[in-house]
Subunit: 696 residues, 2 copies
């Protein structure tokens, strides 16, 4: 009814609704992009977009057509080969800042990504200098392909419980690796099933029957010439997963696999020819790979969420439903009979705009996280580990909170696209199924909340014991917890209507919420232990509270970083839009976690009305800029891989075209008819038919 | 470490942890089952389990092995053939009460399910007597296979906006069907792509250029002998979806397709040979198929959620993580070195037990819904439509609330299984991807919340105008809204510690929350319209509030029905467990929606602590019964389709076995090696190799 101009197929005319949306926005789109990513990342993105955009390997529409996991794996190997070519051509191998964006732009994870983000960094971190000189160039040049092999079938988060053994054989100067039980089968490492030639394998180091705990060993698993698995090593593919099926997550069992003594990675410990064991440096750095990986996850989360947000926003501007004339309609010129743009509906705005705002906020958080991590590493190299606790708390709480929020946000975007969001051609399902495991791997919310809560409660405990603050904490992301006074601050935060237009005061409310939750948990913890509970038991009783205070602390961090980003901008149209987005995100969280805010007396029960009025006003304010903000993420169509999120908005043509890729559309009468359907309709045919019945 | 007894593969010995769990439960498992489903449904289930359990078509493990959508579709056709055989053998075709359970037990939806749950009921409802005599036996005997063809590419929820036309040609006494635009392409009907021979097609009825709006026509789409699509009809498969890929959702375009005048279904309207149009009976019943389908969805939701809950609970009893000695441990005999059962962790309990309780509550709600619907239909047949408004409100609010909660609950169960939950072999991903579209189709939460809010606000408006209550409302599920006094009840609900052990008082708090949200929305609505907003605009401004009051109203209904179920039981061990589950669900909702409760003054900010203390106590009380409650859903292993949720708890053996089904494990060196990986490792080989490079 609304779309006379959109009926030609394969045209390149932009849908008039989107054209209109882009005309009316208040800012220059590419200025937003540049401000968001910053000059360095913007330059990297520009370079990568050019390198990737004409390469058919990076066109993910094949996912709509692919018929089976074998085909998908072969396709992933092709993508891997092309990724390696790009890295070799652009000489990106030691540019850490480029690997993250490359991974997001490639759109699909496969073995070579784990080689880059886990295997290679682990070698760099865990090898001693001599080992590094041998292994790192091999890995950097892809003459070996590796993965990180830690999790076992029955042992995940509890790393200390791993069972795989590495016994020192003094006679041959070798380690002998074994899988002592079914439960000890290595399970999950990406690429281990079929693709990798090597791995860093975590195993219990034992010398003369003494167990020194879990240590990293470099282990070759496949022949470099034939790619066959090596003797004593059984490798297999784990089978199909909810998503992420381009990655061959694998399993392994070892039977008396012998590797040289020097295959133990010896940066943080050393074993000599006689089997003498000694530790070197700060042993906490041995788990550095996990902190690094969490940092990488946090960096990628915002751009991942943005993909789904862009799809849902553009589609909602083109999709029309119910003939309702709206006051703030995007398209005033439509007559009374035209259906309204779905983006004009308040529920759609409340669903999508906070996700759009969060995509911006998480992207900024990720960029800060990267810089903060790099500073920490620089300091650590100089022997300064004072930020170790903070980096642990920050990566844990942000990883736990943001990954869950992103998974949830992607699924909300999918539902916001109605039925069409369920088609792979919408581009969102693949985002969801590929991203959702990130919320589980490298520490799920419970495990990471424990880590976060431990650090935060220590601050309270120190304060309660009237000690002076840890100097490393002053000026850090943790300082506000120390500064909070639980005794003077018992009464409700003074709230008047002015607060809803004052970011600093809203941020204070978020801080109060986080602080009270932390102090309350510390109090309950003390009361549990003084009632005779062991520390372990008290920790378990309070786990629920820990997960909540972790989210509250993460919100403070994210909103603070976003606000700092805004304050760095000169007054401008971009700055105004960022302020709107900040309010949108903060107020949406005030609403969503309102229970938290009243429990902690940051708000009283009456303040919810004010939140909703302010929130609805900000949604209407964002509305005319929504499509332009989506555009500003600067994601090319090819990588969005979406019939609904196309830049030109020609969604219905694209959906119809997408069906041409479906293998079942190759014939009118489907393969199931002759084998089965005809016998439902004509049971008598079964009696006289030859046995065509095929059991799969 | 804990599993010496579990290392034999393919054994049938139950894991000692599960054996222990079953020993210590407080009730007889099958008594629970019988009380839950009721005598009639229990009998049907028994019959169906026997018929299905030895039939390999119903073994869903093939999903772990299947390589591509074509294979999956052929497999679905086989399943369909077997379902039809069961229906024919057990003569179930006119036993509506058996079709729902059959659908749940079959585990996979495919075209024949839509034939049973949408096509056939529509024929029964929409045909006049003569038409019914012709069409119903054909459909009941599967001599035709049909679907319900309504949604178009650009038109979903707004049925009145459908564009497909059916023009009356008086000369030939025929309707001429056309697809006037790309946007009018029929899109989504299950089975329409490849499987169906017929459909009920919704199209604009036009006579002599006058448009009478959307009406149902029966339309043959494929040849009954060859299965080829008929002239003028273009049929196609929509392509791959997030899940539900055994169903061939399809699209259709019509060009001058001619069908006899009597193919208009004429129960509620009539068109004669001269083209005179008249309506018959209550036209609201024309949309009866949608109400019926929502009822069916509500009935199936509890059993669907139960599948994932059972898997997560059993796995959490077998999975061990971190060596923590717990006070309330399920396995006292373990030494200090053994890792704890994950089910002992408070976060795991808080995640899973409310889902277990909700599975029970939704199952009971579904059984009530079915009975209530059947009563309504009986009355309607006698011309009594007084419950029409209530049935509309009830089906709308329960469908919206429960489907979202179930989709969310399934995903929570999956995450609660850690990494392994991500494997298809865990059985949960297929539950999630297959169930999640149910939250969108047949009305999403926004559309249905509008329907619910309209009915609820009418009650308030009537009351505010000092009218007497509608007699049909008295004694109904809506009466409590009428009985609420917004003026006398301004102050906080009196809460003391006694409330947490008194279901009636907790239910009062839920009622207060719902009522205040409804009255507040009605007030805001009146204020918007008196400020000059149109009804449509005011509706949109309040949509956010509508979605929330709909959930609140649904919670009252669900908790009330569950409580009535409890009160029907004699004092017994089962009754005690049900009471625990009731508290668990109610308190978990009090916590989750605490913001709602304080905003509406049902609780004050101080009451959250009491909720958490009571909730944690009830979780510990449920803990020893958790596995037995899961067992009581009486879902056979074959239909759970889960390596993690097996009755015998031998999860690690089952996981390892599941990898044998993966096609990529047929060879050691994978197909991607020769084509791509070797050139990453040895780029020089590319130069001298023959062109093996294969682009998909």
């Amino acid at each position: 009814m609304s779309g006379a101009a959109t009926t030609e197929l394969d045209g390149c005319v932009v849908h008039p609704d989107l054209e209109q949306e882009r005309k009316k926005c208040s800012f220059k789109i590419l200025d937003f992009t540049y401000a968001l990513y910053g000059p360095e990342n913007f330059a990297i993105l520009t370079k990568l977009r050019t390198a990737l955009s004409r390469n058919p390997a990076f066109d993910l529409r094949y996912l709509w057509a692919i018929d089976g996991s074998t085909q998908q794996y072969v396709r992933a190997c092709w993508l891997a080969e092309e990724v390696v070519k790009v890295i070799r051509q652009l000489k990106l191998i030691d540019q850490d800042a480029a690997i993250g964006p490359l991974q997001v732009l490639a759109g699909e994870d496969m073995f070579v990504m784990l080689h880059l983000t886990m295997f290679l960094p682990t070698l760099k971190n865990m090898c001693d200098d001599e080992q590094a000189r041998y292994w790192v160039p091999l890995a950097e040049d892809f003459r070996i392909i590796g993965t990180y092999c830690q999790t076992e079938l029955a042992h995940g988060s509890n790393v200390a419980g791993l069972e795989t053994t590495a016994d020192f054989d003094e006679k041959t100067d070798e380690w002998v690796l074994n899988t002592p039980s079914l439960q000890a089968t290595k399970w999950w490492p990406g690429g281990l099933g079929k693709s990798c030639t090597h791995c860093v394998c975590m195993a219990r180091l034992r010398i003369h029957n003494k167990d020194y705990g879990v240590h990293p060993f470099i282990l070759q698993v496949r022949d470099l010439n034939t790619h066959e698995s090596l003797p004593g090593i059984t490798l297999f593919h784990l089978g199909k997963k909810l998503g992420y099926n381009s990655m061959d997550n694998g399993g392994a069992q070892f039977r008396n696999v012998r590797i040289p003594r020097r295959n133990l990675l010896m940066r943080y410990c050393h074993v000599d020819r006689q089997g003498n064991y000694r530790t070197l440096g700060n042993k906490k750095m041995m788990y550095g790979t996990m902190t690094f990986t969490r940092k990488q996850i946090i960096m990628a989360a915002g751009p991942h969420l943005a993909k789904s947000a862009v799809i849902a926003i553009r589609y909602s501007a083109v999709r029309r439903q119910f003939p309702i004339k709206m006051r703030d309609s995007g398209n005033q010129e439509n007559g009374n009979n035209a259906e309204a743009q779905v983006l004009d509906y308040s529920t759609q705005q409340l669903t999508l705009f906070p996700i759009l705002a969060a995509s911006v906020a998480y992207t900024m958080t990720g960029i800060w996280m990267d810089a903060f991590y790099n500073t920490f590493i620089e300091e650590a190299k100089k022997g300064d580990f004072s930020k170790l606790e903070e980096i642990h708390a920050v990566t844990s709480c942000l990883k736990a909170t943001i990954t869950l929020a992103v998974a949830d946000g992607i699924e909300k975007c999918r539902k916001a696209c109605g039925g069409h969001g369920y088609l792979l051609a919408s581009g969102i399902p693949i985002q969801f199924v590929n991203f959702v495991p990130v919320a589980t791997y490298e520490g799920d919310r419970v495990v990471l909340s424990l880590q976060t809560a431990r650090v935060l409660m220590k601050i309270v405990q120190r304060k309660m014991m009237n000690k002076s603050p840890n100097p490393a904490m002053m000026g850090s992301t943790l300082e506000y917890i120390w500064n909070f006074d639980p005794f003077e601050d018992q009464h409700a935060f003074t709230v008047d209507d002015g607060i809803w237009s004052d970011p600093e005061r809203i941020l204070e409310a978020f801080k109060k919420r986080a602080c009270v939750l932390v102090y309350k948990a510390a109090q309950q913890f003390a009361s549990e232990t003084s009632n005779g509970a062991t520390v372990m038991e008290a920790m378990d009783v309070l786990k629920v509270e820990f997960t909540r205070l972790t989210v509250a602390h993460a919100h403070v961090l994210i909103l603070r970083l976003f606000l700092e980003g805004i304050n760095r901008l000169e007054p401008s149209a971009i700055r105004d839009v960022w302020v709107d987005l900040w309010f949108c995100l903060a107020l949406a969280w005030c609403d969503e976690y309102f229970g938290d805010f009243v429990i902690t007396r940051a708000f009283g029960p009456d303040h919810h009305d004010g939140i909703m009025v302010a929130l609805k006003a900000i949604l209407r304010k964002i509305r005319p800029n929504a499509v332009a903000i989506a555009d500003a993420f600067w994601i090319p169509d090819q990588l969005l891989n979406s019939a609904l999120g196309r830049y030109d908005g020609r969604v219905y043509e694209a959906l119809l075209n997408s069906t041409k890729l479906e293998p079942l559309n190759r014939t009118d009468v489907p393969p199931g008819y002759l084998e089965h359907i005809q016998y439902i309709l004509h049971p008598d045919r079964r009696k006289r038919a030859s046995p065509l019945h095929c059991k799969l």
